[in-house]
Symmetry: C2
Subunit: 363 residues, 2 copies
């Protein structure tokens, strides 16, 4: 059975379709969207080995002409060089304005394929087929695309909404455990910022740190409720003028930690987990959130197998300096998303630097 979540936007709305085995229906799902014949599948070697053939067969059966562009895996390749490779493939395969890029992979692939689609011929269509939990519940939805600058994450990018997001939960079976846990960080985030019921359901589960220990129904709930949360927020604020900022919960310090560890030692989800622990504690210090609720949050992060402490060797002064480079900085003030009760957050740029320092020192 397919669960469909609509992302409603003024210029172009689209569906998030969630169904086991749906990878084989990719081509079929794309017909009816009035896309041109040419498709460029962008992926990485590991994912392409697992799922490339099925995706391509499905596209060909539906009548698409398919080429592929395989980029090296990993956040450190999320740069303009990789984008240049997609442009080269687009040129070689003569992608016209009616062509479509299909992003088959995790967040890195989705962000880069989306950015290339946003900027090739000033914008062609993109379809997101996320293969990691993180990409399924977060990065594939909402139209944020981009690459990293050597000195800061996602500093280069564009808003470019996909025409379709197709989620096949079965592909999570090949996802490494660490990557699964990284995705759980974003799921927990939705619980804290938007959906206290989702949070409670995860709390009630005995295990949360490996796919195979989690009931399939809970996985389904996690996917549906997380995508719904993201779709709700994005539909209300496509270009991050206001509400959408709440999705950055845990990301302010998270991005700094990720950047300072060279996008290697700590992955995005782990950094978000650490950032949520820090933000929760900042909220407690400022008297905005109850200590018991922070502890509930931190316990869930731990149950998901995620770190709750700063990686050793990361310099706290460097984190504070890196915060200034964050896209969310406004007039030099760092913007924080802070919880006030489970499922509700507020946005503030009034966090004293001393508080940030103290909280980080205690981690």
């Amino acid at each position: 059975m397919t669960s469909v979540i609509n992302v409603n936007l003024p210029e172009q709305s689209y569906e998030i379709a969630i169904a086991p085995g749906s990878l084989d229906q990719l081509g079929e799902k794309m017909t009816g969207l009035q896309l041109g014949k040419k498709v460029l599948v962008v992926s990485n070697p590991t994912i392409f080995k697992h799922y490339g053939e099925r995706a391509i067969n499905s596209l060909k059966t539906a009548g698409f002409e398919v080429a592929s562009c395989i980029l090296p895996a990993g956040e450190r390749f999320k740069n303009l060089n990789s984008i240049q490779k997609i442009y080269d493939a687009a040129l070689e395969n003569r992608l016209e304005r009616s062509a479509t890029i299909v992003a088959l992979g995790g967040g890195v692939i989705g962000d880069m394929a989306g950015f290339a689609a946003a900027t090739w011929l000033r914008g062609i269509s993109v379809v997101q087929v996320p293969t990691t939990l993180l990409a399924m519940v977060d990065s594939a939805i909402g139209g944020k695309t981009g690459v990293n600058h050597p000195q800061g994450k996602n500093l280069i990018g564009a808003f470019h909404q996909p025409r379709l997001v197709l989620i096949d939960p079965e592909v999570l079976k090949t996802l490494p455990v660490r990557e699964f846990r990284a995705g759980m960080a974003e799921v927990i985030k939705y619980g804290v910022i938007w959906d206290a019921e989702l949070f409670a359901q995860m709390e009630a589960s005995k295990h949360l740190n490996q796919l195979r220990y989690i009931k399939p129904e809970l996985i389904e709930t996690i996917l549906i409720r997380s995508c719904q949360a993201k779709a709700d927020v994005v539909s209300k604020d496509e270009k991050e003028a206001g509400l959408r900022a709440i999705l950055n919960y845990g990301h302010t310090i998270g991005h700094a930690v990720e950047s300072l560890t060279g996008y290697r030692l700590v992955n995005h989800g782990e950094a978000v987990g650490i950032g949520m622990v820090a933000a929760g504690q900042i909220a407690v210090e400022l008297g905005m959130w109850q200590k018991e609720e922070t502890e509930r949050q931190n316990a869930l992060i731990q149950k998901a197998g995620l770190p709750t402490q700063l990686p050793s060797g990361v310099d706290i002064a460097a984190i504070i300096d890196a915060l200034q480079l964050d896209k969310k900085v406004k007039a030099g003030k760092v913007r924080f998303v802070l919880p006030t009760q489970m499922g509700v957050v507020t946005v503030t740029d009034e966090v004293p630097a001393d508080t940030i320092r103290q909280v980080l020192q205690a981690m």
Copy 2:
């Protein structure tokens, strides 16, 4: 006196302000647009030497914090490396989302500064201060931004409207004659596609090939009527869904010629002039346009000091092959804009390859 032309768009409208000496009012004109304090001026060494200080003084007097990024001059530097340099300057000067990039220069600077603004932090403001005739009447207006791929012009880009276009006709005094003529190609284009009266006024002028031989009132008319033509078309079709295609008159073959000569031998305006001669003749061959009108067009192109023949050594088969790479290709068919009477054009993808070949061979 300032002439103001409005570009009306659903999301963000803006003004084109034309006034002699207005470079010194840049800062003043930018206040009131609710821009942040930080401004990055992007320019090239020649233009910056002439006008950088005046622009920066004006901005500083109005209270802006100003940094600059100077890129090498020329179409061959319109690439991702130059964009990377703007990103680096943006990072170094900590440009936040509220910051503004000011493009001070010709079309190359405007396109690159616009693309960097479109993609830095997923989009910051850009103000266009065009210093060439071509940029004033064409590229600074309408939000098309981008860079070249080694194998094709403007293949990489984004739509990103400026917040203001400020035109100071006095800066044309330092524009090399060849560049002035290149701009006249686009002005003649507006005459042919949109404004038969503008065409007639230029026909009535004794000289058209050097700024100093043309009456100041005609220069003013040229700027105002050209900007108005561009604003009219862009307001009706921001993202090139239909009408805007007519602005590509002369550009189909023009882009191919420019690309095949390595963006050096023939500049953009010259290529457009050649492209208009070719397109006019194609229209005649297809029985769509009168021979006498083509001759009027070609005479005006010549009076502006522009070439009307293909540069020697350019391979016609290579031009025809290059047409396939054009952004305007749809399902493999090359789209041509063809005149039907002075001031009126039509768009067609039904031009036989043989006709294109014959016309080019006769040039």
